[in-house]
């Protein structure tokens, strides 16, 4: 078991030197969605299970609907600005939502899959119920959606009303059975592929059109297939350790939160190019890729960590980074783990994830966070708090500007120039 990588108190690259604690919740803040400024939809619900914020841009009215589903029972809040509409004709808990913008409908997944229109009319629903319920739902081309139901990925096709048929219909098209355990995360990567991750650490890249497996990565807990799998499994007794909780992606890579670790999977090379096996003390819950090649992850251990994806220049000349890592308390196991990789696949991990900072503030698991280019980071946590992490220097400059603005307004500003 590799010890946690730590970083000292000196974090020169960590820009977040200011934090503001928002204390409004009385329960776990689990989801944050936001647009533009600091708009928290999480504020409105106390017991939320799921919130999504689709921006439904219809031609006539550009009102935003916030669809929230809560776990306590089949209640739907439809938040149009201030208005709240409720739909509560569900038989089961709604676990996920998806919006098909082209068709101007949205879907809810629970034990069945329902299709709704903007006016909250139920258009149609699947004919049968799933015992396990739909855990994730994404849209793929050709009016299809992929629903993760247990170990299966089920592809449904929506049939929009045409001259011939009267109403909406939703048809099951195909079931993909390649996963060996429950699918926890599902992500559209680009037009041609989507990715699913399961509880036992399988990452499968699918072709959106043919619904076939493009690539499969099953051994996240061990990037070297050479090692004895049994031994590794022993090391990772807890199944949690390899479950893929969250996925995110950029043009080339998929960033995968696997258990406590963080992996970067290159879509082109179809392999893991960088990893941090124990990125956190506890399960990583959310991963976000920042524009500046940084990756931020948050975890059940209450911390948020900032990583930078760095290219290793030449893998042949290795010793320097090892020593460097040692300085920061990199464990032996890590080294051991990376050495075989090098042996086997010379340039397999051609990049490294380096910890450049951590944000400590929450006293309980950090459920989710949002990154705003101009405002920094917003984290929400099970400790009922939302914390805004800001760049202190920039904030200071802004305040200074504000000060002089106010001076000017008061007519007290005398420019000597």
């Amino acid at each position: 078991k590799s010890p946690l990588q730590t970083i000292g108190e000196e974090q020169t690259q960590n820009p977040y030197t200011e934090l503001l604690v928002l204390k409004a919740h009385h329960d776990i803040v689990r989801y944050l969605t936001g647009e533009k400024l600091l708009e928290f939809s999480g504020h409105t619900q106390k017991i939320t299970a799921i919130i999504t914020l689709p921006c439904l841009e219809t031609c006539e009215e550009k009102n935003q609907l916030i669809l929230t589903a809560s776990a306590d029972r089949t209640e739907w809040d439809c938040d149009t600005g201030r208005q709240v509409q409720k739909v509560s004709c569900f038989q089961s808990t709604v676990k996920c939502l998806a919006v098909l913008q082209r068709l101007d409908v949205w879907l809810s997944g629970g034990n069945d899959l329902c299709v709704w229109n903007r006016k909250l009319d139920l258009l149609c629903k699947t004919s049968h119920l799933f015992d396990t319920g739909i855990s994730a739902l994404i849209e793929i081309p050709k009016n299809c959606v992929v629903a993760a139901v247990g170990k299966e990925l089920i592809i449904f096709r929506l049939v929009a009303p045409t001259e011939g048929s009267l109403g909406w219909d939703i048809l099951e098209v195909k079931r993909l059975l390649d996963h060996q355990d429950n699918i926890l995360s599902l992500l559209n990567v680009n037009d041609v592929s989507f990715v699913s991750g399961s509880h036992v650490g399988e990452l499968i890249v699918w072709d959106t059109l043919g619904w076939t497996v493009q690539a499969c990565e099953r051994n996240f807990w061990d990037p070297s297939p050479q090692l004895d799998a049994q031994q590794e499994i022993k090391l990772c007794q807890k199944p949690n350790d390899v479950s893929i909780r969250h996925l995110t992606w950029d043009e080339e890579n998929v960033f995968v939160a696997v258990g406590r670790g963080l992996y970067v999977y290159n879509l082109q090379m179809k392999r893991v190019i960088a990893c941090q096996k124990t990125a956190h003390d506890s399960s990583v819950l959310h991963v976000v890729r920042l524009p500046n090649r940084q990756v931020i992850s948050c975890s059940e251990d209450g911390s948020v960590r900032i990583w930078e994806l760095r290219e290793k220049q030449q893998l042949s000349v290795e010793p320097v980074p090892t020593g460097f890592f040692n300085m920061w308390g990199f464990g032996r196991v890590n080294k051991q783990a990376s050495h075989p990789v090098k042996k086997q696949q010379e340039n397999a991990t051609s990049c490294s994830l380096e910890l450049i900072g951590d944000l400590i503030g929450h006293s309980s698991s950090v459920e989710m966070f949002l990154y705003f280019e101009d405002h920094g980071l917003v984290t929400c946590s099970a400790d009922h708090l939302i914390i805004l992490w800001k760049n202190g220097e920039r904030e200071s400059g802004l305040r200074s500007l504000k000060l002089f603005q106010k001076l000017e307004e008061n007519g007290d500003l005398y420019l000597s120039v």
């Binding site: 960590n14 030197t17 503001l20 400590i360 006293s363 305040r399 200074s400 106010k406």
Partner: protein
């Protein structure tokens, strides 16, 4: 180096710090003998051995028409305070100085009795036999049953320190005027109520009489009236006349507020007072009348009774008490105000003055003062802003606080008061001149306001000044004589006032008895000066009884009004400016005149007046010095100047602790946590002075304690500097310890270094036993944390280590400190462990001044726009930041971590400035990712 013992050691400190600094005892032969009177609780510089009371107090006396002058009550109401001081005698003294025959009755040419709204007079009076000096505030209250409807009262602030009375005259006057106004307002209400009752009685009586007469008429058809019937008819007529009279009185008393408040924009103090009682809803002076009317109308229904038409003025009748005279509500309020006054002027003059200067200066830095200054004072600021319009209670009467104060110094002494000091014969002779003088004074005073007002004043009744002349005559202290020629007194103007004179006075002790000092001042009648204005008008002149040759008391300064001046005055406003300067010239003249008496022999001693005794002449010289001294201070055209003059005293150690109660009371009683807030605190935000807020953190005792403990901390812990740096740079310092008292003590001590966020107090949590949370660091910058030897503490410690990047941790039990490195130069100056400062309060002041300096730097940094704004639109932000860095380093001379301190303070300033109106929110938690080090002893 030989360590010099503190002087303190020999001055019987008021209260030793809990752990006096131990120093090796001096060999017997080197020690200075203790001050002989030390055992009596006096300090060696106390010059008031003559005083029979232990500290200043306020006395309210009445000139009872039945028993003569009598003391009514004292504040504080504690016999220990005035001790053996003869209140009866002193009441006699102060009441006999009364100034005016508050003439009520049937003035010639008036059909009905006329109420004269007499103005208060303010007099300074000294009695060296008693060792007492007093500011005496005379006022007249109306009582339907009293002779002439008036009852003279006076409130006196009695102190053993003449300088205190003199220097604080304006403040005293302002504060006492408030009390007086309060009494009078209540009294008017009560009086009007009385009148209404009386009218109802009269009405009822009339009805009864009328019926009786009718019955008699009917019963008697003989065509002639019996003597009985005639008597009844006469009685009826007299009742009717009485009704008319009383109605007229009622009209007069009700018309008062309006008349009075014409100049209400100057200082509508009255309206303020009317608002104060909860029963009054009237908010403005305009409403007052209606409010009054309502008030009277709302009185519980009164059952009229039959009365005799002739008003009885029998002497065996019990007169109303002061409380009855004024509405109870107002009476209580007045007492509260007086208590407030007593509190406010406690302590040594030196102390009062410095704190006034302090406050005045503080006001000028209102942008930064929230950082380190006491919040109560800072919090007061908005109130003061409004003062000119809403007339908040004038709490500490610092100089130049309000427009009225600014103007005062120009007219320090009214010419009228000169007149009054002139002995009786002269006054009689110059009755007219006296009027002129008063008028001139009025003009001078009001000149700065509205020329239009002047006319009003001039048109008003001059009676007051006439009576002032009369009252002097009553006094008759100084006897015929001393007709100083004007030219003489004027020539004396040129007499230079040397500091030596001032000093010589300072050393002189007033050990004399048998002499007394008469200080008279009368105000021109209310008619001349609106009392609101007058409240702070220094109409008194200190005329300590002059000890002229042969003890002839009456050395008199001619008022110095030369005919040309009068002419000018009458010319109108054009000559006002020159008059003002003349007024101050007069003072100089007066000062000079002090030396003159030597050359004016021929005064006769008059001992016939029991009240005023005549001073022995041998002390003449010194006492003159005394007087000169006073004159110098008062002659300065503004408070600021008088403050400038002050250092002369400071040089002289004997002035540091002059009055017997000295700074003791000011230090201890002010800060008595159970009973009083600090004097400042009690004044700050409360409109009603009666409510004394709980002791604020700003109390003297607190300061002293905190200073002392901080000093101890600095000496004891070699790592005090980084700890203080943490506080100054906004990094939360957690003081960890098992013992609550220890932790609290240290937290209190260190809190003097914590910059505040705003008005809501310093971000200090003295004692916390629950695990820390991230919000705590945002909220508090100094936390006392309990270390418990239980599993619960594990989580607390865990939290502490988890958040260690936001905190510095001072472990009291293990004597360790974990915090970032500090290499600056600022903190060593602030907290030098080799400092020679020994006393807590001194160290506190040292810290305050250093921090004030620091906040000035932060202010400069924050508000220099070229540092923060791009010079031109396309400038790279890096340039601005390099400018900032060089400014901090080169211009402000900050090195290393000191820069961070100033940056942090600047951050607070920005936040405070930009959010000032919205109220202060907690600033974001700012921190740096810097390594910490562990310091051990």
């Amino acid at each position: 180096m030989i360590s010099a013992p503190d002087v303190v050691a020999f001055t019987k400190e008021d209260e030793y710090e809990e752990e006096p600094y131990n120093e090796p005892a001096l060999p017997e032969e080197y020690s200075v003998p203790l001050f002989p009177f030390a055992s009596q609780g006096a300090n060696p510089w106390s010059k008031l051995s003559g005083a029979k009371f232990s500290r200043d107090f306020i006395l309210i006396s009445e000139f009872s028409e039945q028993v003569g002058p009598q003391p009514l009550l004292t504040i504080p109401n504690d016999t220990k305070v005035f001790g053996t001081f003869d209140l009866n005698y002193f009441s006699l003294r102060i009441m006999s100085v009364d100034y005016q025959a508050s003439f009520v009755g049937h003035p010639p040419g008036s059909a009905y009795p006329k109420l004269n709204f007499v103005e208060d007079s303010k007099v300074v009076l000294g009695d060296s036999k008693e060792g007492a000096f007093a500011y005496v505030h005379h006022l007249t209250l109306y009582d339907l049953e009293a002779r002439g409807f008036v009852r003279p009262f006076c409130m006196a602030y009695i102190s053993a320190d003449q300088h205190k009375i003199m220097q604080q005259f304006q403040e005293l006057s302002a504060e006492f005027s408030k009390a007086s106004e309060c009494l009078k307002t209540g009294n008017r209400k009560a009086f009007a109520g009385e009148l209404e009752k009386k009218l109802k009685d009269l009405d009822y009586t009339r009805t009864v009489l009328h019926t009786e007469t009718e019955i008699q008429k009917k019963a008697n058809d003989k065509g002639f009236y019996s003597s009985q019937a005639i008597e009844k008819a006469n009685e009826l007529a007299s009742v009717e006349k009485s009704i008319i009279e009383h109605q007229d009185l009622l009209r007069q008393i009700r018309s008062y507020p309006h008349r009075k408040l014409r100049g209400s924009n100057l200082c509508p103090r009255e309206s303020e007072h009317t608002q104060d009682p909860p029963s009054q809803a009237a908010a403005t002076s305009d409403l007052e009348k209606s409010a009054d009317t309502d008030h009277y109308a709302c009185r519980p229904s009164y059952t009229p009774k039959l009365i005799k038409a002739k008003s009885t003025k029998c002497f065996d009748k019990k007169l109303k008490t002061l409380e009855e005279l004024c509405d109870t509500e107002y009476f209580t309020q007045t007492l509260a105000q007086l208590r407030h006054v007593e509190h406010m002027f406690r302590g040594d003059l030196c102390y009062l003055l410095t704190s006034q200067i302090d406050r005045a200066l503080l006001k000028q830095q209102h942008i930064t003062s929230f950082l380190f200054e006491d919040l109560v004072e800072v919090g007061d600021r908005p109130a003061e802003k409004q003062e000119s319009t809403v007339s908040k209670p004038h709490h500490y009467g610092p100089p130049s606080e309000s427009p009225e104060d600014c103007l005062i110094p120009q007219v320090l002494i009214s010419v009228g008061s000169y007149k009054s000091s002139v002995e009786s014969v002269l006054i009689k002779m110059e009755q007219d001149l006296g009027d002129e003088a008063s008028r001139e004074a009025a003009v001078t005073e009001s000149s700065s306001f509205d020329p239009q007002e002047n006319l009003d004043y001039l048109e008003m009744d001059m009676k007051g000044s006439v009576s002032s002349g009369e009252s002097i005559e009553v006094l008759g202290t100084e006897k015929p004589t001393s007709v100083l020629s004007k030219s003489e007194s004027q020539s004396s103007l040129t007499v230079p006032l040397s500091p030596q004179v001032v000093r010589s006075k300072a050393v002189s002790h007033r050990t004399i008895s048998g002499d007394s000092i008469e200080v008279l001042s009368t105000c021109p009648s209310e008619a001349l000066i609106p009392d609101d204005f007058k409240a702070s008008y220094p109409s008194a002149i200190n005329e300590e009884e002059s000890y002229g040759e042969g003890g002839q008391g009456a050395i008199l300064f001619q008022a110095g009004i030369s005919p040309p001046e009068l002419g000018e005055a009458e010319e109108g406003n054009s000559g006002l400016a020159s008059l003002q300067t003349d007024a101050s010239c007069c003072i100089g003249r007066e000062a000079g005149a002090l030396l003159v008496p030597l050359s004016t022999p021929g005064h006769t001693v008059s001992d016939e007046d029991g009240v005023v005794s005549v001073p022995p002449q041998r002390y003449r010289q010194k006492d003159q010095g005394f007087r000169v001294d006073f004159s110098v201070e008062n002659a300065s055209p503004s408070r600021d100047n008088s403050c400038e003059g002050f250092p002369a005293y400071e040089l002289d150690p004997s002035h540091l602790l002059t009055s017997r109660d000295g700074s003791k009371t000011s230090l201890d009683d002010h800060s008595d946590a159970t009973s009083y807030g600090s004097s400042i605190a009690s004044t700050s935000s409360d409109r009603t002075p009666s409510s004394v807020p709980p002791a604020g953190p700003s109390s003297e005792r607190h300061k002293k304690r905190a200073g002392q403990n901080a000093l101890k901390f600095i000496r004891q812990y070699p790592f005090a500097h980084p700890a203080i740096y943490s506080l100054l740079s906004g990094r939360t310092l957690v003081v960890l310890g098992e013992e609550e008292a220890m932790v609290r003590k240290l937290v209190t001590a260190l809190s003097i270094f914590v910059p505040g966020y705003g008005r809501h107090g310093k971000p200090v949590k003295h004692w916390l036993s629950s695990p820390l949370h991230i919000t705590d660091f945002q909220k508090w910058k100094l936390i006392g944390l309990q270390r418990v030897a239980s599993p619960a503490s594990a989580s607390a410690l865990h939290a502490l280590s988890r958040y260690s990047r936001y905190t510095s941790i001072l472990d009291l039990d293990r004597k360790t400190l974990r915090c970032p490195l500090y290499r600056g130069t600022l903190v060593p100056r602030l907290a030098d462990h080799r400092t020679h400062i020994r006393r807590g309060s001194t160290y506190f002041l040292h810290v305050q001044s250093m921090l004030a300096q620091l906040s000035a730097k932060a202010f400069l940094y924050t508000f220099c726009h070229h540092l923060h704004l791009p010079a031109h639109g396309s400038e790279a932000p890096e340039l601005a930041s390099s400018r900032q860095a060089s400014f901090l380093q080169l211009t402000l001379g900050l090195v290393h971590e000191d820069v961070k301190v100033v940056r942090y303070l600047a951050e607070l300033l920005r936040l405070h400035y930009t959010q000032e109106l919205r109220g202060t929110s907690q600033p974001a938690l700012r921190f740096d990712y810097v390594p910490s080090f562990l310091y051990k002893i």
